[in-house]
Subunit: 144 residues, 2 copies
DNA sequence: CGGAATCCTTTTTGATACTG
DNA sequence: CAGTATCAAAAAGGATTCCG
């Protein structure tokens, strides 16, 4: 991925690694680099569906089985930097940190939901295609 | 990414690296792992917009500045395996290979177009948010 | 509690060279 | 032309430890 959500990007405005020699780093690519980031779109989904819109870190983690706190933290920072989630810290003695989607983040949920819907509808077909491809490969190995 | 589109995946049906101990590897995640793959969604876009629906490898490459032929090849293989693109080989002496979207692949373009549209509409906001975040960071460094 | 920092491993990507 | 193979670099991800 071009932009790194995990690392606090030392040179935030240096768009391409070696500069934008080629494509103008189209917004779509940049966005997909972000939402492709393993946990990003899940955070958006979970927050979009959260009923009290604000969710605490630990609770968020509980709702996303498999995230390490490092990745969740990095993902949330990245989303906050992008203005998609808002962070609120209660200055209590063990601090309580709440996250929620901004209006911008919420608006992203719509197109993502479309992708989700497509995935749920068509992944079986993709799986079938994969099995078919595997079989053909096996056939080619058998034919002698 | 969980599934590797570049490498011909030695164990195609082993969904999770350590098994699906947690989430059932929801279809959405699996799909996003694929379309997050740097070039996948661009191939879908380019092929969806191609007027003769079929495009040759070299032409495809020309339309996607920055792809290495290795990655384009890997991406196309992955998409073909998933049943999203069809491959047609003319058995001429230098072979001509054409790619086109399958109906399934074409149907994926719709949700992806929604994401693209969102990106083009809102990336300026995201950029603004990033600049704001950078400034705050700079401020925090200046205050002594 | 919510992280930040560090270390280490796996995956991904790109350059380059070679082939049917 | 359309790849494959190989190698090296980089990025992502996870585990662990430490801190306010």
């Amino acid at each position: 991925m071009t932009s790194s959500p995990a690392a606090p990007d030392p040179a935030p405005h240096a768009v391409g690694a070696r500069g934008d020699l080629f494509d103008p780093l189209c917004p779509t690519r940049r966005l997909l680099d972000r939402i492709g980031t393993k946990w990003t779109s899940m955070v958006v989904k979970v927050l979009a569906e959260a009923d009290p819109a604000e969710v605490r870190f630990a609770e968020l983690r509980r709702r996303m089985p498999g995230v390490s706190q490092k990745m969740l933290s990095a993902t949330l920072q990245s989303l906050a930097r992008d203005g998609l989630v808002a962070r609120r810290v209660e200055p209590t003695v063990p601090p309580r940190v709440h996250y929620r989607l901004t209006p911008l983040g919420l608006s992203l949920d719509a197109p993502l939901a479309a992708v989700r819907a497509w995935a749920e509808q068509h992944m079986p077909e993709i799986d079938r295609a994969n099995r078919a491809a595997d079989e053909s490969a096996a056939d080619r190995n058998d034919e002698q």
